[in-house]
Symmetry: C2
Subunit: 243 residues, 2 copies
């Protein structure tokens, strides 16, 4: 079945062994496929009646704007990720979502989710798992900004992206393609662009990782994980719990 | 019906108008009621086969320990909140949970959730809403540590706790009872205990809020919200979306 190869099916399939009915219900969620250009917000903080999406191709980022005009990037979304889920569950969206690259995504309405959960209740648990995993990532970003220095933050971030991408069949232990600019990295990691540049130079000089021309290359992934204190438990990649 | 008055029913009821079947299903989740003493971890980072809980009475906190021995408190739980939800969805718990006061909580197994979702699919959406709201709070804590100064962080935190407590019938616009020590506040807000003390003194001197002898008293809640840039959108308290 085609849909079993969708990034969302691959991701949820790592939590629950999906039946045919569940796969078909997931397929129905991909009905309203749309394309968006980079840099133009899809979900708007403070607005109501927004949609949620499942990302199929490309990268996006979710962020909050502060009254003073600064922003904090909360997370990046890759294929298989939901974004704007809170925008359909909440009356008013509490965040923005911007495509980092051109993207393809399927629009999801609140009623689509309700219908899916009615038809396939185990999917509800799987989506709750995915949302909990998203929360676990935000928790790690909080810990990074609260308790890790620049090198540790960058190392942790690159290892997390690598593990997430591998789950949906992109990249491997040697590295991954990464469309993020140093400005985006800075807004995500709570560093200045200059500091990001310095941190990446240090990690390269120490023989750990290189980020150049849109490609992250790991030279010593174990030493990088050691530096970051990276423990992938929070990504829950140990294999399906629900069979 | 007794259960309609449980903090969890009150909280989920603010998102979905619960039917009798849904209320009965929620009641079943409260079957395994247990008591725990303050200060002894209930959920353990790095361990598997942990339970989740719904808190009925008292306060708890979730936190991560870092390899160096420092800790970051991620959030506090109050009556009506789930905790350890990731501990039943993930094979291994990625965080710790510690009761701040003595607490009463109902233990929930993964199969309990599955059964509840099967019986009442709208509950799945309600629990997904609750989990999304938890994530939205962690996002705000990330924004606080990344982009807000000490006074703004504290103001934002106290206003968030106030709004959350009011939703489950505790406290009002004049203030709330708060069992948190300055050490817990420090570990949550990424400040030192000395800094917490100074920040609270400043807020009191400015006629905004007093935190003394286990009680937070708002003197000028509007000015406090202005200082914090507090926008309650992320708590989604605008009334039931699902009817």
């Amino acid at each position: 079945m085609q849909i079993a190869d969708s990034p969302l099916a691959r991701k949820l399939g790592s939590f629950v062994l999906l039946t045919d009915t569940e796969l078909e219900t997931l397929e129905a969620l991909h009905r309203r496929r749309r394309r968006f250009v980079a840099g133009k917000d899809l979900v708007h903080q403070g607005q109501s009646d927004q949609s949620a999406y499942v990302l199929a191709k490309g990268w996006a980022c979710s962020y909050k704007m502060l009254p003073g005009g600064t922003r904090q990037i909360v997370d990046f979304q890759i294929p298989g990720d939901f974004f704007g889920l809170r925008s359909i569950l909440f009356r008013t969206s509490d965040h923005n979502v911007e495509p980092v690259t051109k993207i393809e995504a399927s629009e999801i309405l609140a009623t689509d989710l309700l219908d899916a959960f009615q038809r396939a209740p185990r999917l509800a648990t799987a989506v709750l798992w995915a949302a909990s995993r998203d929360e676990a990532m935000v928790v790690e970003h909080l810990v990074s900004i609260g308790r890790r220095n620049g090198e540790e933050r960058m190392a942790h971030f690159l290892l997390e992206m690598s593990a997430r991408l591998m789950l949906v069949g992109q990249g491997d232990r040697t590295g991954f393609d990464c469309p993020l600019s140093q400005y985006l990295l800075a807004d995500a990691l709570g560093l200045s662009a200059v500091h990001v540049n310095r941190v990446l130079r240090t990690l390269r000089h120490d023989g750990l990782v290189t980020f150049q021309r849109g490609r992250v290359t790991f030279h010593n992934i174990d030493a990088l994980a050691e530096l970051a204190g990276f423990d992938a438990t929070y990504l829950d990649h140990d294999g399906p719990l629900l069979r």
